[in-house]
């Protein structure tokens, strides 16, 4: 990574790296070389880099189908990511995962599920095991606002609080579940609801501000480490693209383009042209190498079809 001299620049670099990877995915997508549904994180990168800066490989995160940002921010290798998207044998999961099931256990990325809300309880279980073993680690579950409507989310909050488990519940609230707005779905306030379970909950509204969000995460993670209690952060963020796929769908009428334009006007990755031009060449070179690796890797064969079933 380029040597930089401020937290802002470091986090900017990491966030830009994620955005440029996803913009490369958009560029490649019409070629049909990536035959996996992609749920892009563009607009939400600040959350991933702000959090992961404070986590070591031993601190596990459990993510979801919109997982490119967290995979990369947590240290998941980029060439293997592209190979995975290409369905190549050199992908970290040998092409069996694709975009929706990213994992990099050596970096503490413990798997992503496409069934909304279904890895939240995994973080709680890993934390339970950690408590029994007497470890001092943190477990993070990352989910969207839609996942908080699942029963498993409530069950997980209850269990984590009841058993005093070191879990950070991190909700990326982009206000949308596929195309449905919060108003159509929720009769509760996320933070008020978590507090009912005795879980300290914080709402952060400027999800584009990776520096301030990173500071918040630092404080929250420290508190979880010292109290061994779960906490919740709701971070408001903005999904720039369609739910799944490389495009935009503002013409569909389920949300306002003006809202996204207003968000972009505050997003450093959109407005800090100087840093973009400073870092983009180095990042594009890394991306070029990663794509080259994927392009030139072999496909899995029939010999791989029935491995790791049982």
């Amino acid at each position: 990574m380029t040597k930089t001299d401020s937290i802002y620049e470091k986090l900017f670099f990491e966030a830009l790296r994620i955005r440029l990877v996803e913009e490369k995915i958009i560029e490649l997508y019409p070629s049909d070389k990536i035959q996996s549904p992609v749920h892009l994180s563009i607009g939400q990168e600040a959350v991933a880099v702000g959090l992961c800066r404070h986590l070591g490989p031993e601190d596990w995160i459990f993510i979801n189908y919109r997982g490119h940002a967290f995979y990369l921010a947590k240290g998941g290798p980029m060439p293997e990511l592209f190979a995975e998207l290409y369905g190549k044998k050199t992908g970290l999961s040998k092409g069996k995962a694709g975009s929706m099931h990213l994992a990099a256990p050596s970096q503490g990325v413990m798997g992503a599920s496409a069934v909304v809300g279904s890895t939240i309880s995994h973080a709680v279980g890993a934390a339970l095991a950690s408590k029994i073993k007497g470890e001092n680690r943190i477990f993070v579950t990352v989910f969207g606002d839609g996942a908080t409507e699942q029963g498993a989310y409530h069950e997980s909050l209850n269990f984590a609080s009841l058993h005093n488990l070191p879990v950070l519940f991190l909700c990326e609230n982009n206000g949308l579940a596929v195309h449905a707005s919060l108003q159509e779905r929720q009769a509760f306030s996320l933070v008020d609801h978590a507090r009912v379970y005795g879980i300290e909950a914080i709402s952060f509204h400027d999800g584009f501000d990776f520096v301030r969000f990173s500071e918040l995460c630092c404080d929250v993670l420290q508190k979880i480490r010292s109290t061994k209690r779960p906490m919740l952060i709701e971070v408001k963020t903005c999904r720039y693209k369609e739910h799944v796929g490389p495009g935009e769908d503002f013409d569909a009428g389920y949300r306002a383009l003006a809202d996204v334009i207003a968000w972009k006007a505050k997003d450093p990755l959109c407005i800090d042209k100087d840093l973009i031009s400073r870092y983009a060449p180095e990042i594009m070179s890394e991306i070029g190498d990663a794509v080259f690796f994927a392009e030139n890797s072999p496909f899995p064969t029939i010999d791989d079809l029935l491995t790791d079933v049982i």
Partner: protein, 351 residues
């Protein structure tokens, strides 16, 4: 077990659980594992000995199954109990979408060794939601091992093997009717494949492939039939997800006749799968069309008068067997209809 020792099904489960807890990485988690009934005496006393690792749960089956996956990822061996298999339906998302796929979906990056104990609640009056047998549903899913132990030896052997050697999720369907039954051990059981099917009785005229408590009913039927010169071979299927194809085919090749006796519904079930094996491998081994016995194609009624018709019993097995071996002109009297819950008289409610 030593020769001629006797053991109850429940006692074997209690031994299996105690053995499991001796490993500091086992957690035993589920509704009732810490209470005074202790899953009908199979977990009693363990909570006092292993205070951190025997965990009572909120009524959150889905969440707890996910917690088990997370704990397995972090090096524990979770044993998750369901005092009624019906409640286990609430974990199907975690079991099917996650646990069964965690190894394959991530290309071998993860293993989630764990055990789910699901008790088929059938006894009297358990009704539509306290009595169901879901072995076929789960055996349909790649990535799961589904076993139905039919005796204490099978329990001791396969639970130990699952814990020590299997790196994925195993679902154990235990049958409530057998809990208080005493079994004599059989020589050579320790040599069997812990996750495989086994010949429970050698015969020459008819093969009965049976699951769980139906092995006992098939044995009663076989004893009865032997007095009329009919020699029944019984296969205890044991592994529902991975039945031993060669064992089944070779048996039917020898006897030429097949009866399948299962604890669940017939369509798309165990009987259908056994027929698929025979039909695909060599249907010419059959001298007669196959017969199958299972629950009637309806939810389970609560009234005992209806329940007695709902489940097949020894009379139904004898009748099907005689028809297969002797045809409709036989002169063999059928035994009286007698529900298993009446025969295994020790059972009293409410559980």
């Amino acid at each position: 077990m030593n020769a001629n020792t006797k053991m109850k099904y429940r006692e074997a489960l209690a031994i299996a659980m105690a053995e499991a807890m001796d490993n500091p990485h086992t957690i035993l988690i589920g509704q009732g594992v810490t209470d005074f009934k202790g899953i009908w005496g199979t977990t009693t006393g363990l909570a006092q000995k292993f205070t951190q690792r025997v965990i009572e749960t909120p009524l959150s089956e889905d969440g707890v199954a996910g917690i088990c996956i997370g704990a397995a990822l972090n090096g524990m061996y979770p044993i998750n109990t369901h005092i009624r298999a019906d409640f286990g339906l609430l974990i199907f998302n975690q079991l099917i979408n996650l646990a069964a796929k965690y190894r394959y979906m991530f290309g071998g990056l993860f293993e989630v060794p764990m055990m789910f104990r699901m008790v088929i609640g059938r006894s009297w009056g358990q009704g539509a939601q306290h009595s169901q047998s879901f072995q076929s549903l789960l055996s349909h899913i790649p990535g799961l091992v589904v076993l139905m132990p039919a005796n204490p030896q099978s329990i001791l052997q396969s639970y130990r093997y699952a814990r020590k050697h299997h790196k994925g999720p195993v679902v154990m369907f235990e049958h409530r009717l057998m809990y208080e039954l005493e079994f004599e051990d059989k020589p050579g059981a320790e040599l069997l494949n812990p996750f495989g099917s086994r010949i429970d009785r050698v015969g020459s005229d008819l093969t009965i492939v049976a699951t769980s408590v139906m092995v006992l009913e098939a044995t009663r039927a076989a004893d009865y039939l032997s007095e009329f010169g009919i020699n029944v071979e019984i296969i205890d299927l044991h592994s529902i997800s991975h039945p031993d194809h060669d064992l089944i085919l070779n048996s039917v090749k020898k006897t030429g006749r097949l009866l399948v006796a299962d604890t669940s519904w017939l369509p798309y079930g165990v009987a259908a799968e056994i027929c698929r094996i025979i039909a695909e491998r060599d249907p010419t081994v059959l001298k007669q069309p196959v017969r199958s016995l299972g629950m009637q194609q309806a939810p389970c009624p609560t009234a005992k008068a209806l329940e007695d018709f709902y489940y097949p019993d020894v009379r139904n097995i004898v009748e099907a067997a005689v028809l297969l071996v002797r045809g409709s002109g036989h002169a063999i009297p059928l035994p009286p209809k007698q529900a298993m819950t009446d025969f295994y008289k020790h059972f009293k409610g409410p559980f």
